[in-house]
């Protein structure tokens, strides 16, 4: 079942922990209105500066609060419009806590930010390209065993970097397309 989609555009200078907390609270309030799974798309194209404290409050803490261990419906996050100057603070905030986030650069390239194994990242990119895929075909594409791909998919699923739908795995990009087509995103 594809998740609902919630878009948030972030503006202006994302500096100070105080501002970060306020931004995160407002996003979490918005997301709490959804009963089921939701894909939150946070657009950072209009953020000229993000500092390390704000990256921790907005990006890392959103992921922690929306993680597998957190109560409530599943939440997925996609950070769009990531420019070069956003990368270091976000990467640092995530790496410090062993987290990873799905992103899209300003020119639309998918990227994983934070701490991630190379194999897991390769699987994620493949899923992004294919849109929707089951373990078998993915194992063939990656040229790894079914067992190995199962491990990669379990990790992507646990870290909420793909959307599991039965025995298939949906990329955030495809989820957005589907939502657009059905008028929900």
């Amino acid at each position: 079942m594809a998740p609902a989609v919630a878009h948030t555009e972030l503006f202006s200078y994302l500096v100070t922990r105080h501002t970060g907390r306020a931004v995160r609270s407002s996003i979490e309030r918005e997301l709490s209105r959804f009963d089921g799974a939701v894909l939150a798309v946070l657009d950072m194209r209009h953020v000229p500066v993000i500092d390390f404290s704000c990256a921790d409050e907005v990006v890392a803490k959103l992921l922690v609060h929306g993680s597998e261990d957190a109560p409530g419906p599943r939440r997925f996050f996609l950070f769009r419009g990531i420019a070069e100057h956003h990368l270091e603070p976000i990467e640092c905030a995530l790496t410090r806590q062993g987290l990873a986030a799905a992103g899209e650069s300003v020119d639309g390239h998918p990227l994983l930010i934070g701490r991630i194994e190379r194999g897991v990242e390769a699987a994620w990119k493949e899923i992004w390209e294919l849109g929707l895929v089951a373990a078998g075909p993915l194992a063939m594409r990656l040229e790894v065993s079914q067992h190995a791909v199962g491990g990669l998919l379990d990790e992507l699923d646990a870290r909420r970097l793909v959307i599991r739908d039965g025995d298939r795995y949906l990329s955030f990009g495809r989820a957005l397309e589907d939502a657009r087509r059905s008028g929900g995103g």
Partner: protein
């Protein structure tokens, strides 16, 4: 009755140490005489020295309960510089003095005039305000690449937030470009940030002092924060700010010094000879940060 303290003629980081030692801030207590900072003989002042006057005034005020007095420099150039850096607006909150001077005309290569930091709104104002000047000075004068303006803004934000997050006190920031003829023969940007709050030892003590036992000190606290990214919070997301500043300063082959309590820790570039750690300085409350960024010569490391 006031106790007169002569402000050194050259008021930079060395002059600040002399002043702290002479004023004996650590020994001041309630009922002590009012301090009069006599700056008449000052002939040169850096951003660090300038906000150092505010920090010493505020520390004296906190410890004696009396607003200190200040005699402005006689030198017309220094007076004019201090006016243009808007020193007197912040000083009026600390010293007993007449209404602050309104003269702020003329341009110095200031990146940021003396600005008080009391809240996160102040940090926002500073970061947004500095953008155009940082662009002009870092890119046009010091040949930094364009993204450096953003990195500088982030550095500024993190170092100012340190006041709000750890000091529980008012602080000040000031930055300027000038030519370091004698020390480096190059243009530099100097950024100074100070507060007179609880300091690193006090801030990190509750969380870390027990682990260190008797070796806990201002120097140990500075090492924990500056080198290991430890903070007073258990939250693993904390403690990144100083680490980020250190990494960025290293990339730009700059210098950073943090003084707190009786200790100072530094990232020392090849052009500087400051000791990396000192622990025998005269005690002074809060934290005092000095960042020096030399002309750009490529990213290191």
């Amino acid at each position: 009755m006031s106790r007169v303290i002569d402000v050194p003629a050259t008021l930079d980081e060395t002059g600040f140490e002399t002043l702290v030692r002479t004023a004996g801030i650590g020994e001041l207590e309630d009922g002590a005489a009012r301090l009069l900072l006599d700056a008449r003989q000052v002939t040169w002042v850096s951003p660090y020295g300038l906000i150092g006057l505010l920090a010493i005034g505020q520390a004296a005020r906190q410890r004696t309960g009396l607003a200190p007095l200040i005699e402005p420099p006689d030198d017309p150039e220094v007076r004019s510089y201090i006016d243009r850096m808007d020193f007197w607006t912040a000083a009026a909150d600390i010293f007993e003095m007449d209404a602050p001077s309104a003269r702020r005309h003329g341009e110095v290569d200031k990146l940021l005039e003396v600005t008080s930091i009391r809240s996160h709104e102040d940090v926002h104002r500073v970061v947004e305000h500095v953008k155009d000047r940082a662009q002009r000075i870092l890119i046009n004068r010091l040949q930094y690449p364009r993204p450096s303006v953003i990195h500088f803004s982030v550095m500024l934000s993190e170092v100012c937030q340190n006041i709000l997050e750890h000091a529980d006190s008012i602080g000040w920031v000031c930055a300027q470009r000038y030519h370091w003829k004698r020390r480096l023969g190059k243009d530099v940007v100097v950024l100074a940030v100070m507060d007179v709050g609880v300091g690193f030892e006090g801030s990190l003590g509750a969380e870390h002092a027990r682990r260190y036992g008797e070796s806990w000190s201002a120097a140990a606290a500075l090492e924990a924060a500056f080198l290991n990214g430890e903070s007073r919070f258990r939250d693993p997301g904390r403690g990144q700010g100083l680490q980020a500043i250190r990494r960025q300063v290293i990339k730009w082959n700059g210098a950073v010094r943090i003084r707190s309590g009786d200790a100072m820790i530094a990232r020392v570039p090849d052009w500087d000879d400051t000791p990396e750690l000192q622990s025998d300085l005269p005690w002074f409350p809060g934290a005092q940060v000095l960042i020096v960024l030399p002309e750009y010569a490529g990213d290191a490391g």
